[in-house]
């Protein structure tokens, strides 16, 4: 028995094609979640960013003006919500005052010390998860979402700038999340910098209680206050021998 088939009309073929295409479209829609687009449009409503390497943020500290006051430390604590628990060996410390002694002359000198935001940060080099990173504009941060709390970065940092959060934290600021089991350090008040303001320590130092010893600005801009100040007087980079090119510069030590 032979069977003769009528050739399918173009309409019928199109209907089949349409069904196949519709099925494919449904599959694609299901596989690609709405938030996970292959090419994501830039968020039009974003207020800031993305940051670029056109700027490099830095702080210049004139240690001749600095004395034994600690308004910078207190301002940092208030701004970022960190504080001690009376256990100096393990308490978090984003910025601290250090006193230098000249053993021969007996002279002393005070200066604040915090993360110096290296151009080549050793904390980033040793981080096994990529949580320690340097932002394009020179600010060195910990991405606490990926930090596993191994503390290699704390051992690698020659400035002892980082702290480990040993205890539960409940009174965080909405703009500065902090939590147990992660490493943290000075963020150069990244939330303030992103909104066009200066870090809390610099603001406090320039206030009525401070000594006006700190200048914040863009090291890449030759017209900025910090670049002019750094060009006028010799500046010191602590542990310059390591070649890390810190963004926090000192004058007078």
């Amino acid at each position: 028995m032979t069977e003769t088939r009528e050739p399918r009309s173009h309409d019928a073929v199109d209907r089949v094609r349409r069904r196949v295409l519709a099925a494919a479209a449904t599959f694609a829609g299901a596989a690609l979640a709405p938030g996970v687009r292959l090419i994501s449009p830039a968020p039009a409503e974003a207020a800031t960013g993305p940051v670029t390497d056109k700027v490099r943020w830095g702080i210049l500290i004139d240690t001749n003006r600095c004395d034994d006051c600690d308004v910078c430390v207190e301002a940092c604590k208030t701004e970022n919500g960190w504080h001690g628990h009376g256990r100096p060996r393990t308490d978090p410390q984003w910025i601290r005052k250090v006193t230098l002694h000249d053993r021969q002359t007996g002279a002393t000198h005070d200066l604040p010390l915090m993360c110096v935001h290296c151009q080549y940060p050793p904390c980033e080099d040793v981080c096994p998860t990529g949580a320690s990173f340097r932002r394009a504009d020179g600010i060195v941060l910990v991405d606490k979402h990926t930090c596993i709390g191994c503390r290699y970065c704390m051992m690698a940092c020659p400035y002892k700038a980082r702290s480990f959060v040993h205890e539960d934290v409940t009174d965080q600021k909405s703009y500065m999340p902090r939590g147990k089991g992660t490493v943290e350090s000075c963020t150069m008040c990244v939330h303030r910098v992103d909104s066009g303001r200066i870090p809390a320590c610099v603001e406090a130092c320039g206030g009525t209680d401070g000594k006006g010893a700190m200048v914040f600005g863009d090291l890449n801009d030759p017209e900025s206050d910090i670049s002019r100040e750094a060009g006028r007087h010799m500046v010191t980079r602590i542990r310059a021998d390591l070649g890390l090119d810190p963004g926090v510069l000192y004058r007078g030590i």
Binding site: P43, G49, P50, A136, K144, V169, S174, K180
Partner: protein
Amino acid sequence: MTGAGRFILAIAAVAAVWAAVAAPAAAEGRVPLPVLAAGKGDKCVEPTDIMRRYHMEYLKHQRDETVHGGIRGAKHSLVDCIECHAVPDTAANGVRTIRPFCDQCHEYAAVTMDCFGCHTPKAADATEGPTQ
């Protein structure tokens, strides 16, 4: 009828009554579905059914852009979630937090979230701070 026979009959009767009472309850499900309170404003940043399934993707995507790229003020921010969905929380002495809102579904689905180990769940008016 023997004593043992009467005992078996009594057990059967109790079982029949228990089955009659328990059957409708089992059909409705043992755990009630979460009932979510509406947030502030007319609508969420995305349609509700999309948010229910993909809110974690949006948050994760934007958190990376914010932490690494400094992009702030974009649409899918945890702070904005908290601002709209915070309600008085008995576990936090009546302070407005987003925990009751999140916990309803997360407890139902037995999915643990780590957001609030670091991020404050409190609404902006409940957190003190010199700056925002």
